[in-house]
Amino acid sequence: MSSAQDIEALKKKFGEAVVATVEFRGEHTAEVKLASLKEVLAHARETLGYDFLIDISSLDHFGKDPRFEMVYELATVDDSKHLRIRAKVGEEDSVPSVVSLWAGAEWHEREVFDMMGIRFDDHPDLRRILMWEGYPYYPLRKDFPLAGRPSEMPDVAFTGKAPLEGGPFVTAPGEGNPVTREPRSREID
């Protein structure tokens, strides 16, 4: 079966739970409801043969509701087909962990938790992975400034504010034209 057929199979099996499907340049994406996310992924793993989890990532649609989105990149080990599953996640929601399906999901989910602050149910070891335990912010959220925020944990670590001085690489979330969306620098405090 190809990815396109798998998408059809998912639609048939889960019906309403598959909110939308997108095909772009041979890449197949299915957006599903958070409530049936684990079921869909389990089906993809067990029945459709997606035994390789490439990556788990998350998006922050700041200013929209639901705010977050999970993205799962699936593939087969022989690399014959790829599938992307997405699910919108509200700020208060927690996401079912898929460590029981793919053991490799453990560190990906820890990274999502560390950087975006999305919580996972039934994760065996949900600790921060890049920043240290006790760091008070989630740095990849859109309302977190690139320059960082001061924090202090005696004997563990501290952070300061980096001098951006109108530096590049700044984008603002949300709609608007590129001039307002990508200013030379931006302060949110």
């Binding site: 890049l130 740095p139 320059a147 670590a157």
Partner: protein
């Protein structure tokens, strides 16, 4: 030594020894010894470490300047070469290693990241290791060529020449005494 043909020659004075005596200040002698045998503590944190390794290898040969003995124990090192991006997570570990180095000790901030945070103007990176430990020599570059590191080392050598061997190089010791 008593010469055979002159019985009144001074027995206690060897005229031949004159060429082997050097008059100098203690500071100058100690600093001369210190600067030619600096054992680096390689604090390799990013790509600068590769250039630091290259400096130590045969083509550039840091041993020409007496600094080839890379010690991976801070207790045996004289100069810490901070080579790479110091993240906040790593910063206090670098500080702890620095604190374990016995005096006299010096620090070279190698490359843009160690000197100023470099291109990492972000929440995760310490904006210059001089926020935590005193730096003697900054080496520019991203990463610096081995020649640049060697020049930094030579700059440090000439800095050591002018230092007071006790007051400046044993600062922490005196601070402990006075406190």
């Amino acid at each position: 030594m008593v010469s055979d043909n002159n019985e009144i020659a001074h027995a206690a004075y060897d005229s031949k020894i004159e060429g082997n005596v050097i008059f100098t200040r203690v500071d100058a002698a100690i600093n001369w010894m210190r600067k030619n045998s600096m054992w680096p503590m390689p604090m390799g944190l990013a790509c600068c470490a590769i250039e630091m390794m290259a400096s130590a290898c045969s083509r550039f040969d840091l041993s020409r300047f007496g600094a080839e003995v890379m010690r991976f124990s801070p207790r045996q090192a004289d100069v810490m070469i901070v080579a790479g991006t110091v993240t906040y997570k790593m910063a206090l570990a670098v500080k702890r290693i620095w604190d374990q180095m016995p005096e006299p000790k010096w620090c070279i901030a190698m490359g843009a990241c160690a000197s100023s945070g470099g291109m990492y103007r972000s929440y995760a990176v310490l904006q210059g290791i001089d926020n935590l430990i005193p730096v003697d020599v900054y080496v520019s570059g991203c990463p610096p060529r081995p020649e640049a590191l060697i020049e930094g080392l030579m700059k440090l050598q000439s800095k050591i020449e002018g230092e007071h061997a006790l007051e400046e190089q044993k600062k922490e010791f005196f601070e402990e005494l006075s406190s």
